[in-house]
């Protein structure tokens, strides 16, 4: 019997006015798999993640997570079921510390926050898992109590990942975790993701092809919201359609 996919997107369609951002998109993420979603700018990769998370409502199609139809489910309910994303443009709580940001995600996972009395900052049940997540993404310990507004771009990208991890995900949707990172930072992030994919299936949207081809078990190529090819890194690298539509543009550089 075939293994059931963690995430299954079937015939997803999303239009913004005349623009078809997602055009009959189907894709799956299997257990233990890192599935990379690549494509030129404006191919609808982020829109696809938005729909999987429930931030954008699709016009048609079905999204299943762990076998359950989640197409019409609000975002927080999906997160509680184990879907978690990072943002390409970091969405962090700027006034809070790095640790505070992660601790809040730990708190959200632990259940409701209707506790009005105890000082949350001194609560070891929030602090310890938060610090574990920060250590996991490799954010330097000296930076944990720095307000987010004072963190560097690279550190914010690491923090995005730590917050996503703290929600206890069963599937990670990573929207360009390497965007804007320097070469060495990119390599470090690649290694963090390599360790992560052993535990958690990942859907990775990324433009850094070195990272994509070294990490991915499967790659899907999106052009104008439509999936033109899906297969192993080797197959994608040699797919003539992909080369024509996407990779070849880069070959000439």
């Amino acid at each position: 019997m075939a293994e059931e996919p963690v995430l299954s997107v079937q015939r997803l369609v999303k239009r913004f006015g005349g623009l078809v951002a997602t055009d009959d998109l189907s894709l799956q993420v299997m257990p233990g798999e890192l599935h990379a979603l690549i494509g030129p700018n404006g191919a609808g990769k982020t829109t696809a993640i938005g729909q999987i998370m429930g931030e954008i409502t699709p016009d048609a199609g079905v999204i299943r997570f762990m076998g359950e139809d989640i197409t019409g489910m609000p975002t927080p309910a999906r997160v509680r079921r184990g879907l978690s994303r990072t943002f390409q443009i970091t969405q962090l709580l700027e006034d809070d510390t790095a640790e505070g940001n992660v601790a809040l995600a730990v708190q959200a996972r632990a259940g409701h926050g209707f506790r009005f009395w105890r000082d949350a900052a001194r609560d070891a049940r929030l602090r310890d898992p938060a610090r574990a997540a920060l250590a996991q993404v490799g954010l330097a310990e000296a930076r944990w109590d720095v307000p987010v507004a004072d963190l560097s771009h690279g550190e914010r990208k690491q923090l995005e990942l730590a917050v996503a991890l703290a929600t206890g995900p069963r599937l990670l949707l990573l929207d360009e975790p390497m965007a804007g990172l320097g070469a060495s930072e990119s390599l470090r992030m690649t290694e963090v993701l390599r360790a992560l994919k052993e535990r958690i299936p990942i859907l990775l949207v990324e433009h850094d092809m070195d990272a994509v081809f070294s990490l991915a078990d499967r790659i899907s190529v999106l052009v104008y919201g439509h999936c033109i090819a899906s297969g192993s890194p080797h197959q994608i690298r040699h797919d003539p359609q992909v080369r024509a539509a996407y990779l070849s543009e880069e070959e000439g550089v």
Binding site: Q88, G100, Q107, G113, M209
Partner: protein
């Protein structure tokens, strides 16, 4: 003093001596003025939970303040007439009954109005809270049975634990004690798990959804707590002024409370109380000087908002060299709006040259 709580304790202790010092300075009116400040401080602090805590710009906070006041007024009217309110609730002039009832009614009012208003956000939220408050204002204007436009007078209030509330110093200490209790509660709440969620909502509702938090119940809970605080302040004010009228619910009162919060320091513990003290004192002093006192008050407010970052509390911090609390926002800077940039509107990172696979 790095901790704002130390400031709160110091100021409250100093404030407790006002009734002792005032007769020495031969200005008995000071106690009355200080009582009004303490009461407004509770109302402003309750609004601050929404404005500074959750970034919810409620422009109808006077509604709950007025509701609290009318609970005292209406129960007093029934106490005098001897008829039960709606034939069920007997009238009373006992603060030990009216105050908890006022808080309850304020909370229920905030629950109803909040449940509807919080389905909107941004400018619509500001407008809908304002609209609800004005609806209540006009409702009480048209309630001729309770004085309509003219309001209700409260003459004899029952003693509380043998204390005579007509003695200005007694009433002042009661109000100050309730202010201290309220600030203590606000401090605990803002540091609690609930307070952390609220601060998260202020900074990024989208982020809160992405970590699995449904924000509506938290916003509603904050709305109800704030409404209860305002109603308590309203009930106290009616006991102090011995009078209640629809003016307590007028939108200008909501604006005044907002000015107190912003003037004192949005999102700070002591700020709203400082703002209340500053506004009440300025009004009192300036109106003694000239009939056109608002002409002077306006520019003063503009200057504070423009130049004292974080309001008066921000200025105090700068002087005392305190660390800027993470919650403090610059004066006049309303919390960031809920409008988030669309993902797809953001520029995609270009393909890095040379990043393409070779093969």
């Amino acid at each position: 003093m790095r901790d704002e709580r130390a400031w709160a304790v110091l100021l409250l202790v100093l404030a407790a001596f006002v009734p002792v010092v005032a007769p020495m300075l031969d200005s008995p009116a000071t106690v009355t003025l200080a009582t009004r400040i303490a009461i407004y401080a509770i109302a402003a602090s309750s609004l601050n939970l929404l404005l500074g805590g959750g970034g919810l710009v409620s422009f109808g906070h006077a509604a709950y303040y007025g509701l609290g006041g009318y609970v005292v007024g209406i129960l007093y009217a029934h106490y005098v007439s001897g008829e039960a309110f709606l034939g069920i609730v007997p009238g009373t002039n006992d603060l030990l009954v009216t105050l908890p009832l006022a808080i309850l009614v304020g909370g229920v009012g905030a629950l109803v109005i909040g449940a509807l208003s919080l389905r909107t956000s941004g400018v619509q939220f500001i407008m809908i809270t304002l609209a609800f408050a004005q609806m209540l204002f006009f409702l009480f204007v048209s309630l001729k049975a309770y004085g309509g436009d003219d309001g209700l007078a409260i003459r004899r209030v029952a003693p509380v634990f043998g204390m005579n509330l007509r003695d200005p110093a007694t009433l002042y200490w009661i109000c100050l004690g309730l202010l201290a209790t309220w600030l203590f509660l606000m401090d605990r709440v803002s540091r609690s798990r609930f307070g952390r969620v609220l601060a998260g909502i202020r900074q990024g509702e989208r982020r809160m959804a992405a970590i699995g938090v449904r924000t509506y119940p938290y916003k509603l809970a904050a709305f109800v707590i704030a409404g209860m605080g305002a109603a308590m302040a309203g009930a106290l004010m009616v006991n102090q002024a011995r009078f209640v009228s629809p003016d307590m619910m007028h939108w200008t009162k909501s604006g005044e409370l907002m000015v107190m919060v912003i003037l004192g320091g949005l999102g700070t513990l002591v700020g709203p109380a400082l703002g209340a003290a500053a506004l009440v004192t300025l009004e009192y002093t300036l109106s003694g000087l000239t009939e056109h006192w608002q002409f002077i008050l306006g520019p003063i407010l503009v200057l504070v908002v423009l130049f004292a970052r974080g309001g008066l509390m921000g200025a105090v911090r700068q002087i005392a060299g305190m660390r800027r609390a993470p919650e403090a926002l610059p004066a006049g800077e309303l919390p960031p709006g809920r409008v988030q940039p669309e993902d797809r509107a953001a520029p995609d990172m270009p393909l890095r040259p040379g990043a393409a696979p070779h093969g």
